[in-house]
Amino acid sequence: MNNRLKILRAERGWSQQDLAERLEVSRQSVNAIETGRYDPSLPLAFRIADVFGMTIEDIFLRGE
């Protein structure tokens, strides 16, 4: 699943660690999601959407 996490994070000037702390997950988790190696669960996807003030569909895109 593709996502716009890296772009959205960069727009806000956040490091992976900054985002990880906002989400209360590890930096490895953020890195794995950003690079498409891991698709988050629905609850974590909602938390990500809340942190960015967007909907899940605005962040995660259909496709491999």
Partner: protein, 142 residues
Amino acid sequence: MFGRKSVKNPAYRRYALRMLPVSLLYVGAIMLASRLVPDHAEANPMTIGIALLPGLAVLGWIWTMARLLIELDDEYLRMLEVRKFLVATGVTLAICSVWGLLEIYTDVPKLPVFLVFPLWAMGLFVGMLVNRITQGTAGACA
């Protein structure tokens, strides 16, 4: 604002704090059993009881690893640990099953059941390598 720094998940710290005393118990129980029970001693309630003491530590290891999976609240890190456990289980099943067939059909030495857990632990190391290769990170615990 951010109450929980996730650089090192607290579940890993609790895992290490539990593993240490259980491992010391294992070493102590092995030394005690080796001292008190001669090799190939007759099985009676006393020798069986002493020989089972290290088994309590092994149960402690298993409980500690189960608690890690339960308490690890970071789903990605938990997935890495589960993958290691699965690889370790696969390695152990493969070695024991194949060796068991060799034992049936050939005169290779018997694989002591005692070695199953150490084999599984070595399988965790293989799991770390698999995580490193496929995920770019090994996960925190061996």
